[in-house]
Structure formats: C-alpha cells, structure tokens
C-alpha cells in the first residue's frame, strides 16, 4: 500500500504527470498573458503542450562530433532531478517524502537541471553551445549567492520558532508558517522575498536573465544542436522549472495558508504559483530587454545579494 502510494506520488501527484501538466499550463498562461500585455491575441494556452508533442514526433539528430551518450542522457537526468525536487517541496501540507526535504538538498538538486543543460550542450561539440555553457554557468554563479542568503534568512526565522535556533528543513519551515502566518508578512522577510523574485527568472533562464539561451545572439546556446525528443524534454524541464521555483517561493514565503479543505489549499497554492509567475516572469519579460552577462552578474552580487543580506541581518537582530 505504501509502495503504491509512493508510486502515485512519483508518477501522478505531485510527480511526473501533475508537474508536467501544471508546468506546461504555467508556461502557456505565461505566453498568453505576455501576448495580451503586448496587445496580441497570443497563442492558445495549450501551446507549450503542442510544442512538446510536436518535438516528440521529430527526428533526433546527433551531430557527428558530439559525445553521444552524454548528449542523449543529459535531458533525462535533468528532468528526473526536477521531478525529485518537486516531491520534496510541501504543497499545502502534502509532502510526498517529508523529513527528507532540506533546503541545502534542494539548493543542490536545482543545479542539476542546469548542469544537465550545460553538459549536454557541451557534449554537442558546437561553439555556440560552448558560449552558452559559459553564460549559463555565470548565471548559476550569479543567483547562487542571493539564494543561499535567502535560504539562511528563512532558516533562521523558522528555526528560532523551534529550540534548534536554525533549521534547514522545509517541513519545519512549513510548520512555523502554519503556526505564525506566512513569512512574507514578517517585515524582515520582505527584502528576501523581493530578491527571490529576481532569483526565479534567473534560475529558470527567462527574460531578462536568459543570457545562456539567447536565441537571437547565440542560437539558443547549449540547446543549439538538440532536436526531437531530447529537445522536447528540455522544453518540458524548462516549464517544470517554472513550477518548481514558484512552488519553492510559496514554500519559503507563503506557506501555511490553511482553509481546512485540502483541495482548496492546493488550488490556493497553485494560484499563488501562477501569480508569482506572472509577477516575476511575464511582467519582467514584457518590460525588460535581455541584460548583458556581466551586468547580470553585477546586479545579482550587489543589489540582489544586498537585499537578501539585509533580510538576513534583520532576522539576525530579531526584527
């Protein structure tokens, strides 16, 4: 029975099926609302789904100077680690594998999809991919500093509620929020939340931080040689990443909202995810142009890390 339950968790909710569907839907409304912001009709909400299935039906070309096994294996590893990440983040109290969740684990799990893109691109042997790999790595370096500061701040805030002083456990963070209200309504957390809103598009690789996959400059960077099913999986991973990152935002800052009805809670969480996507990705995409890679790095290590640091200091002195 437990095994069956676990399989349901892994394959259906909140694992593979649910996160794929919801992630693609999130990507769809992102495109739709972006179009509406630009006074266009825009593609149907199902568009990313169509794209995904279309790519599944295309031929897979492996360039002759690619390292075959890495090239083909990378997308699957990236997708699998994203799904595992979803299983660790609590959704309205439902945590598929509770007790194993830990923000450091999630921090490292989140780098694996990017690593998969980098090593896959690098294995394709294209110079465009080489440039893309370099830029993607700089993007990871950029957001990692603010992200760890944010996580430490949240860990301290929630940990103080328990006797340990700090906590790294998402479960504990969720419990703390259930008891004391969402973290976002705590003054000291607001800078961290703002910083997190910048980290999300950078991690996902969305405008204005999509330096690694800039299709107009470097032909989609690491993805340049991918076609067919592997590309479809990368596109799916991209969509799921949006879901994971917004879900992480919800878990860190807006958790613990409870109405008593489970399905309503889930819907609220998903709604929050959609709103966060709108704010930090669609709106940003509509009003900004792509940053240069060194500007992005500077922005993250000064302004955004500064915001997160402010939050950490405020938490530390107990505001």
């Amino acid at each position: 029975m437990k095994l069956l339950m676990n399989l349901v968790y892994i394959l259906i909710f909140p694992g593979l099926l649910f996160s794929s569907v919801f992630g693609l839907w999130l990507a769809g409304i992102d495109r739709k609302i972006l179009a509406r912001m630009q006074k266009r009709v825009g593609p149907p909400v199902m568009q990313p789904t169509y794209d995904f299935f279309k790519l599944m039906g295309k031929e897979t070309i492996i360039p002759d100077n690619a390292a075959r096994s890495t090239f083909l294996l990378a997308p699957y590893i990236g997708l699998a680690s994203l799904i595992v990440t979803v299983l660790f983040i609590p959704i309205a109290g439902i945590q598929a594998f509770g007790g194993v969740a830990d923000i450091v684990v999630i921090l490292y799990l989140l780098t694996i999809p990017s690593l998969a893109i980098m090593f896959g691109g690098s294995a394709s042997g294209s110079p465009f991919a080489g440039v893309g790999v370099s830029r993607t790595m700089v993007a990871i370096m950029s957001y990692e500093l603010p992200l760890i500061l944010i996580m430490l701040a949240v860990g301290r805030l929630a940990g103080r509620g328990f006797d340990m002083g700090i906590t790294f456990s998402l479960e504990k963070i969720a419990q703390y929020q259930a008891a004391n209200g969402p973290n976002l309504f705590c003054w000291s957390m607001i800078p961290a939340a703002v910083a997190m809103l910048f980290v999300i598009p950078c991690e996902v690789g969305a405008q204005p931080f999509d330096v690694g996959e800039a299709e107009t400059e470097i032909c989609e960077g690491p993805l340049v040689e991918y076609s067919g099913t592997p590309l479809a999986i990368f596109k799916l991973s991209h969509a799921i990443k949006m879901f994971v990152m917004t879900l992480l935002f919800t878990a860190l800052f807006l958790g613990g909202i409870s109405t008593g009805m489970l399905w309503l809670d889930v819907v609220i969480v998903l709604g929050i995810c959609a709103v966060v996507t709108l704010v930090c990705m669609t709106l940003a995409h509509a009003i900004t142009a792509r940053l240069k890679v060194e500007q992005m790095f500077r922005l993250f290590w000064t302004v955004i890390a500064g915001l997160a640091l402010l939050s950490l200091i405020l938490v530390w002195i107990g505001i």
Binding site: I10, G15, L16, F53, M56, G57, E59, T60, I61, I62, P63, D64, N65, A67, T70, Y76, A80, S81, I83, V84, G99, V100, D102, V104, V105, L107, Y108, T111, M118, F119, S122, G125, S126, F128, G130, V133, S134, M137, V138, I140, M141, E144, I148, L152, R156, M164, G165, I166, F168, V211, V224, G228, T229, A232, K292, V293, E294, F297, L312, W316
Partner: protein, 635 residues
C-alpha cells in the same frame, strides 16, 4: 600480536623502498615488491578497524620496549587511536590505488625503480607521521616525506617546470619543517619529553606560558605549511602540476592530510587551544581565505593539473574551516570531507594523468573533444567533478552539507552572524568549484577534437581499474553516509574530542585523570542533523523517476526518428550555414561575465603569485608573524 601492526605497516613500506632499489630493474620484480608492500600496509590498517574503530581499543607500542620510567617517557612511542587509524586508512588506501596506477603510468619515464623507491619512502613517511606518538619522530618523518615529495616533483626530467617547482617546494617546505622543529625544541625545553601523550598531560598541568604560546604558533604554522594553507599555496600549485599524476594524488590526497592531522593534534590534543573562541575564529578565518582565494585562482588557470592543485587547497580550506568550528558535527564534516577529498581529488588527478598519458599535454587550450576517444575517462572525470562540486548523490555533497550545517549551527549557538557568512562563503566556493569543472569538461572532454588528437586511444586497463575503484568509492561514501559515520567518522570524532584514553594508553592508567582533572571537554561528541538526508533513498527515487521519464518518452517515439550519427552535412554542427571549421570554446575564454567583474581582484591575485621564491618565503614569514601576534593577543 595486534600491537605490532602499526609499526609493521610503516616498516613494510620502507622495506619495500629499499628492496625496490635492489631488484627494481626487472619490471615483474618491481611490480611484485611494490604491490606486496602497499597491499600489506593496507591490509594491516584494515585489520585494525575492528579493534580500534569498533571496540574502541587504543594500541600503544614502545619501540625497543622502552616503556616509561617513573612517569617519564624515554622511548619512541607508536600509538594508534581512532583518529590516527582514520588517517592511516586514508593514506594506505590512496597509496595502494595510486601505486597500482603508477605501474603502467610511469613506463613513459626512465628509471621507474627509483620512482618506486621514492614513492614508497613518501608513503612510509606519511604513515609514520599519522601513527607516531612522538613529536620529534613526527618531525623526522615529515622531513622524509618532504624530501621524497620534492624529489618526486623533480622526477619528470622532461617536464621543463619540474625542477623549478621542486626548488620552490624545497625552500618553502623546509621553512615549514624549521617551524615544526623550533616548536618541538621549545616544547621539549618546557616539558622535557617528546611523547605526545605526556606533553598533553604536562601542558594542561603547567598551563600555557608565553613560550608555549610561541611554540603553539610555530607548530601550527609548520603543519599549516604541510597542509598548504593559504599563504603557502603557490608552491602546492607548482608541485602538483609538475609531479607525475600518481604523485600528485599523494601530495594532494595524503601529504596535505598530514598537515591537517598535525593541526588537529596540536590544537585539539596538545595545547587544547580549540576550546577558545578566538582560536576557533582564527582557524575558520584561515580556512575561509584558503577556500575562496584558491578557488578564484583555479578559475583563472590554463593547465588541467594546476587547476586541480588550486582546488585541492580550496578543499583543504573546507576541512580547516570545519575543524575550526570545534563542534562535533563540524569535526565530523571535516573528517568526512578529508576522506572525500582524498577520493575525488585522487580520481581527478588520475584522470588528468590519463589525459596526459594519452595526449602528452594538460594545457586546456590544446585539448578538446576527448570524450569521443576516451569515453571511460570522461565518465570518470564527471564522477570526480560532480563529487568535488557536491552534486548529490556523490560524496562531496554529504560532507559539504555537514559543514554548512555545522557553520550555521555555530552561528545560531554563538549568536554571531560571522559564522553565517562562513556558510555563504562555503556555498559560493562550491559553486565556483562547479564552474571550474564545467570549464575543464568543456575544454578537455567535450567540444571539438583537435586534428592532432585524432589518434588518441583510451588508457590501458591497468590504469583504469584504480580509477574505477576510486569512482565507486566516491559513490559509495556518498550513498552510505550512515555506515561511514557509524564505523569510521564517529570513532574518530570521539577520539578527537575525548583524548583521555589516548593518554592513558600511553602513560599508564590514571595518568590522564591525574593531569587533566580540571580540563573542560571541548565539545560534546554527539550531533544530530537539522534535516534528514538519506542518499540511498534519494538514489532509488532518482532511478525510478529516471526510468519513468525514459519509458514515458519512449512510448511516443514508436520507432521513428532513429538517433543516428553520420558524417555528412546533415549531421554536421550548425555553424550559421558555413562548413564546420575547428573552433573550440574553452580554456581561458569561459566565464567572461564573472572574470570581468572580478578583473581587479584577479589581476592583483595573479600578480601576487609572482613565481619568485623570495616572495613566497616573505609571505610565509609574515604569516608566521601574524599568527604569533594573534596567538599572543588572544591565547
């Protein structure tokens, strides 16, 4: 019977060293002697796991049966507690695997018999240090080890950099030995004994006077030189890059560990200075500086092995930091990282050696696309790279995670936000580590294959087997942290924090109680994780998900769009429509966005590593002076 094992495991290496000179001309005899020596040494260490690690026995052995007379140690003692055995196991494992690798690897050089003599001398010296219970004996073994390492650095006569690296190494290394000897002399002047156990007892009775503060600073800095902590790191980079790869494994995985071992013994056991928060801050500071400076230096390198060398010290920085935290979980994380560092850094150096063996160069600019010619080496490199960057489920993740948690718990415990920044620096260093291995992956194993390397072949099987063993150990230590902690780490942590048994075993029952009565324990040898982490579970989950994803994707494929790789226009790399010409992106061209923002810092650091040996000596002396001043103010 069992108390003879430690001395045997040292002597068998030295014996092998002398035998190799006699019979080493023939390849078979050489292989047999060296294998026998390293295997015996390793087997003896493994045989000690049960009594020492699990039963908690402490083995003491007086050379020539010179037992203490009326409470004074006069002979040379060999003593093995869990901490010594921990390092002994590490050393003998690395020596064994790297030795097997060398049999084939060293055939490119002349006089392999002399190589193995020096190799076994180095190994014996290191074993001598970690198992010895006598301060002067440690110094002698330190010198044996340093000389063997210097000679091995200069061994590759065809490498133009080898002699220069060896000379710098000798000068700065002997500086370190000088510090250790002076410290030993001062300790002897105070305590009139050289036995570690007795010194520890007497020092806590006599208290720390200014001479002893001075001696502490000297010993600390001396062992710091052996661990290549920050101001001494340039020589490490030179030496690693010039030495044959199997020796680099020893220098980075084993030689530096003696420095770490020395620092643990000096500051936890002899002087018990780690209880002071100022000393903790000092060691953590040194660790953080080592970590960050070396990782940024590594990002700037153009040579595979030199890059690995800088990373080696960066990882030593992690170990020093976590030891400086002086909490049980910190020490556990540090020791765990010590094992992991030996394994993954050994693996990476061996892959670098394989690349050198196959292509004849380690310059990042001249390599590329080797994954198509050496697929196994590329896979092994990726295991090593993921381990060192702490990607789960490999071993680096577990130890780094323990270190983050230790640092942050320390911050919560002391209320000082500074330790929170230690966590931040550690995480950022980890990311930069990942970055430089992405750079190596892109420049060496992926990208395009230069025309000159078309005929490169995979390395021979005898070189791949040790690498696969190391890779398997990287995964195993990452997946089974529970077992590792129970049988290896926790006994060593307990031995670090509770040294009374060590003193009693050496000086007779009741000596510790009489001398250490009023010593407060440094920390409690218990720890819990703030979260839970079960890598085996995670791995299973990951595999299930991976299978599920693959199956789901395969359903839609239904035989169409078969994956093919043929050399024609269609399967050529997209090049904006042009015919594909060789254009490898790699080496120094990567991470421009990072380098541009850090350009001033990187310029300053690049100029500071001037390559002039006088500068390095000056840094060393200034560092010693600073440490002395710090100790006098805060100790």
């Amino acid at each position: 019977m069992i108390q003879h094992f430690p001395i045997l495991s040292i002597m068998v290496l030295f014996l092998g060293a002398f035998l190799v000179v006699l019979v080493g001309r023939s390849r078979i005899a050489r292989t047999a002697v060296v294998s026998a020596a390293v295997l015996t040494s390793f087997a003896l260490m493994v045989a000690l796991i049960k009594p020492v690690m699990i039963d908690g026995q402490i083995i003491s052995y007086w050379m020539g049966n010179w037992a203490p007379v009326s409470g004074y140690a006069i002979g040379i003692g060999i003593e093995v507690d869990a901490l010594s055995l921990f390092f002994g196991l590490l050393v003998s494992l690395a020596v064994m695997l790297s030795g097997f690798y060398s049999f084939k690897y060293i055939t490119q050089d002349d006089s392999p018999d002399l190589f193995f003599t020096l190799y076994l001398m180095l190994a014996g010296g290191v074993m001598g240090i970690v198992l010895s219970g006598d301060l002067f004996n440690i110094f002698v073994m330190l010198e044996v080890m340093t000389f063997a390492a210097v000679a091995l650095t200069a061994f590759r006569s065809w490498n133009p950099n080898a002699r220069e690296a060896a000379f710098k190494y000798l000068v700065v290394g002997s500086l370190g030995s000088t510090f250790v000897l002076l410290g030993t002399a001062l300790v002897y002047g105070q305590c009139h004994t050289l036995n570690l156990a007795q010194i520890s007892g007497l020092l806590s009775v006599n208290g720390i006077n200014p001479t002893m503060t001075f001696a502490f600073a000297l010993l600390f800095t001396g062992f710091g030189v052996k661990a290549f902590m920050t101001p001494f790191h340039p020589i490490a980079a030179d030496a690693h890059a010039a030495a044959p790869s199997s020796v680099s494994v020893l220098i980075s995985g084993v030689f530096t560990k003696t420095g770490v071992y020395g620092i643990i013994r000096v500051s936890y056991f002899l002087f018990k200075s780690m209880g002071m928060s100022s000393m903790q801050t000092g060691l953590v500071f040194i660790g953080c500086v080592s970590m960050f400076v070396c990782v940024t230096m590594a990002l700037n390198q153009h040579d595979f092995k030199r890059l690995l060398a800088f990373h080696s010290i960066s990882q030593i920085g992690y170990i020093l930091t976590s030891l400086g935290l002086c909490s049980a979980i910190g020490i556990a994380g540090g020791l765990y990282h010590a094992i992991n560092h030996t394994l993954f850094k050994g693996l990476l150096f061996l892959t670098a050696g394989a690349v050198l063996y196959a292509t004849g160069t380690t310059k990042l600019e001249k390599l590329g696309g080797l994954a198509r010619r050496m697929p196994q080496t590329a896979a092994l490199f990726m295991v090593g790279a993921f381990s060192i960057s702490g990607i789960p489920p490999f071993n680096g993740f577990v130890s780094k995670w323990m270190i983050y948690q230790a640092a942050y718990e320390k911050a919560a415990e002391t209320g000082s936000i500074g330790y929170a920044f230690v966590t931040v620096i550690a995480v950022v260093t980890s990311v930069l580590t990942l970055a430089s291995f992405v750079k190596v992956g892109q420049s060496v194993f992926f990208g395009e294959l230069p025309v000159e390397l078309e005929n490169v072949k995979e390395t021979p099987l005898s070189m791949r087997i040790p690498m696969w063993i190391m890779a398997a150990l990287c995964l195993l230590t990452g997946v089974l942290p529970g077992l590792m902690q129970q049988y290896i780490i926790n006994p060593a942590v307990r031995a670090t924090l509770d040294y009374k048994g060590y003193i009693d075993a050496m000086m007779g029952e009741g000596y510790a109680a009489a001398h250490l009565a009023d010593t407060v324990p440094l920390a409690e040898a218990k720890y819990t994780f703030a979260g839970a982490w079960d890598p085996a579970f995670w791995l299973v989950l990951f595999v299930i998900v991976l299978l599920g994803v693959t199956v789901a994707m395969m359903i839609g494929k239904s035989g169409r769009g078969a994956a093919t790789a043929i050399a024609d226009d269609k399967h050529d790399t997209f090049f904006g429509g042009e015919k594909n010409t060789f254009s490898q992106v790699g080496g120094g061209d990567l991470f421009w966005g990072f380098k541009y923002n850090f350009r001033r810092y990187l310029n300053v650091m690049g100029n500071a590593h001037s390559g002039v040996v006088n500068d390095y000596v000056t840094w060393g002396v200034i560092d010693l002076a600073l440490i002395i001043v710090y100790c006098f103010i805060f100790m």
